[in-house]
């Protein structure tokens, strides 16, 4: 995302998105039933105060963005791909299981980062998968998802 030379520098863009989201949430919580006795503030009042403050500070940022704001907020493809791999890892964790997915992710991520020592990548993937298994399942007794391997 390159916002250079536009009125919507990254600070302003970020603030605008937050203002819209906060206003939407402010409106949503407004529908809650207001039940309160003397001195009691309702369940919706506190989040509304917080959201109102958030809107005010975002508006301040829009009025006075930080210096160099145009250079911020630039994303690159490598970062997005890493996020997609991690999101896929989480989405398939219950279905496929820890034992098949973890080594795969530990191979994919270094390759995405541009690392090409295949022997070290493979060795690292096996050792780390086994080490985490050892620590979580054998030492700490915390179950990890087994997926279809676990029946």
């Amino acid at each position: 995302m390159n916002t250079e030379n536009s009125f919507l520098g990254s600070d302003r863009l970020f603030a605008l998105i937050l203002i819209v989201a906060s206003a939407l949430l402010f409106w949503m919580i407004g529908g809650m039933e207001e039940v309160h006795s003397s001195g009691e503030i309702s369940a919706s009042t506190y989040p509304r105060i917080v959201l109102a403050c958030l809107i005010v500070f975002c508006a301040l940022l829009m009025l006075k963005p930080s210096r160099g704001s145009h250079e911020q907020g630039q994303f690159n493809l490598k970062g997005v791909l890493v996020m997609l791999v991690v999101a896929g890892y989480i989405a398939l964790l219950d279905l496929v299981g820890y034992f098949l997915l973890t080594p795969l992710v530990l191979v994919l991520l270094p390759l995405l980062a541009g690392y090409r020592r295949y022997d070290l990548i493979a060795l690292g993937a096996v050792i780390v998968t086994a080490a985490l298994y050892g620590v979580f399942i054998l030492v700490l007794n915390i179950p990890l998802p087994t997926g279809f391997l676990g029946g």
């Binding site: 970020f14 996020m83 989480i90 980062a113 020592r117």
Partner: protein
């Protein structure tokens, strides 16, 4: 007092506790050595490994990681001119100069000795001030706790002093995220969007793993160079007399660092630079600072390690974290059903005094491993980040899953990881969210409880003396960085 000391040392005098301290020191040093992994990230990353542990053992492990993480950052600062942690930036000024002169051993040894002395003096300050402060805090009611939470949140002023507006935006975002779940008073659902798991609110541990560890994976892999630079160094050590001759510097910086640590928000980075400046100001050899002066290494290192003990004072006595790492520790304590605050001394005295004793032993372990391990730690610097970051990603996912055996928590971690990544990209500070997640509950509950007591009269916060004083402190804490910034700008312009 002696009884408490005995209780502390007897708590840690067992095999698992000592192993936890040693492991914590080693892990902390390694994490500190790796640029990009701060002490707070290291502690966040270690929290999942404490799930099944005894509370005392887990707290000792995390406190040791915190202490050694602060020291570890100095190794890279000295060896390759890249501070492993922000607090080590001041150490680099003279430490890296010594390396360029071919004498890294002098700087590395001075650094570990100063860090260990600083850590011990910080632990003494923690021991001396915690119980009296906790006794005062026992008289706190709802208005006082509300004011205390407000005071705690003003830490943001120092964490985001370069752009206060951004700090406040992130803080209010955190306070909003904390309000997700069932309302603590009426039980009504807030922003749960029909997801039953969200009724308990957003899980704090996965959130902090996401904000610190996963976000560093996203940003780190983007910048990763496939190969790390090789490091060739020699390791001549300073003479004992030279090391002992700097006792005034150690003592001065350690006391200063401890006091700075107690003040909410000041933290290790500020302490390092203040201690460096103070050592220079009192030195007879001012001109040598910046050219490879050992005092210039000793002062910031003693200061930033003394902060650890100091920052645990408000955490253990008031439940208010004094630094980002202390905020992560709050989550770890709560995970083990330990509620930091004045009652902790009565309910879990063994943990509090165990931490005092544990810090002492951790300092000794740090001194030992720091001196014998210097060549090894320098090797760690050359570990390829492209291999390391995926390991952090796997630990983050598995650790968040293990927290509750729920994929929802892993998504929470991922969401906070994305949030942390976006915040870093837009140059927003991340720590205010953690502070808001820690203090948001205390803030809302005590605001509403106070107003119930006063039947809606807001003056209750000013008519209670402690609450009023805390609110005044909060105002001063908020304004002081702005005033200092203005003054330093005026000073620079005048020069």
């Amino acid at each position: 007092m002696i009884d408490n000391l005995i209780l502390g040392f007897s708590t840690i005098a067992n095999f698992p506790a000592l192993i936890a301290i040693i492991a914590g020191v080693l892990i902390g040093i390694i994490c500190g050595v790796l640029p990009g992994l701060s002490a707070s990230t290291a502690v966040a990353l270690m929290v999942p490994f404490t799930f099944g542990m005894d509370p005392v053992v887990s707290v000792l492990l995390l406190v040791s990681v915190y202490l050694a993480g602060e020291y570890g950052g100095s190794i890279t600062a000295i060896a390759i001119g890249t501070p492993g942690t922000p607090a080590a930036a001041a150490t680099m000024l003279d430490g890296y100069e010594l390396t360029k002169q071919g004498k890294p051993g002098l700087a590395l040894t001075t650094s570990v000795v100063a860090s260990s002395i600083g850590g011990m003096i910080g632990a003494i300050v923690l021991f001396a001030f915690s119980e009296p402060l906790a006794t005062v805090a026992l008289s706190f009611g709802a208005p006082e706790y509300f004011a205390l939470a407000v005071f705690g949140l003003t830490i943001i002023a120092s964490l985001a002093s370069d752009n206060l507006t951004k700090g406040f935006i992130v803080m209010f975002l955190g306070l909003f995220l904390k309000s997700v779940g069932l309302d603590p008073f009426s039980g009504e659902e807030r922003f749960t969007f029909g997801v039953p798991k969200l009724m308990d609110g957003l899980s704090f541990i996965p959130a902090l793993i996401g904000l610190f560890a996963m976000a560093s994976v996203f940003t780190g892999i983007e910048k990763t160079a496939a190969r790390a630079k090789g490091v060739k160094l020699s390791f001549e050590m300073p003479k004992l007399r030279r090391l002992l001759g700097m006792w005034k510097v150690y003592l001065h910086a350690s006391l200063l660092g401890s006091i700075i640590g107690v003040l909410p928000g000041a933290g290790a980075t500020i302490a390092s630079f203040i201690c460096y400046n103070e050592a220079k100001r009192f030195s007879k050899k001012k001109d040598e600072f910046g050219t490879g002066c050992l005092e210039g290494v000793a002062a910031p290192e003693a200061g930033n390690n003394a902060v650890v003990g100091g920052s645990l004072v408000p955490l253990l006595t008031l439940g208010i974290p004094g630094s980002a790492t202390a905020a992560v520790l709050v989550g770890a304590l709560m995970l083990h059903d330990i509620q930091p605050g004045p009652l902790l001394f009565q309910t879990n005295g063994e943990i509090v005094y165990g931490i005092f004793a544990g810090l002492f032993v951790a300092c000794l372990a740090q001194l030992f491993f720091g001196i014998i391990g210097v060549p090894v730690w320098v090797k760690v610097i050359s570990a390829p980040k492209a291999l390391l970051l995926p390991v952090i990603a796997a630990i983050s996912v598995v650790g968040s899953y293990g927290y509750n055996n729920s994929v929802v928590d892993v998504w929470v971690m991922f969401g906070f990881g994305l949030l942390g990544y976006v915040l870093k990209k837009f140059h927003f500070p991340v720590t205010p969210i953690i502070l808001a997640l820690v203090l948001g509950g205390i803030l809302e509950e005590n605001l509403r409880r106070s107003l119930l007591i006063s039947e809606g009269d807001y003056s209750i916060f000013l008519t209670h003396p402690i609450s009023a004083v805390l609110l005044v402190f909060a105002g001063l804490s908020l304004l002081s960085p702005i005033v200092f910034n203005r003054l330093s700008k005026t000073d620079t312009q005048a020069k």
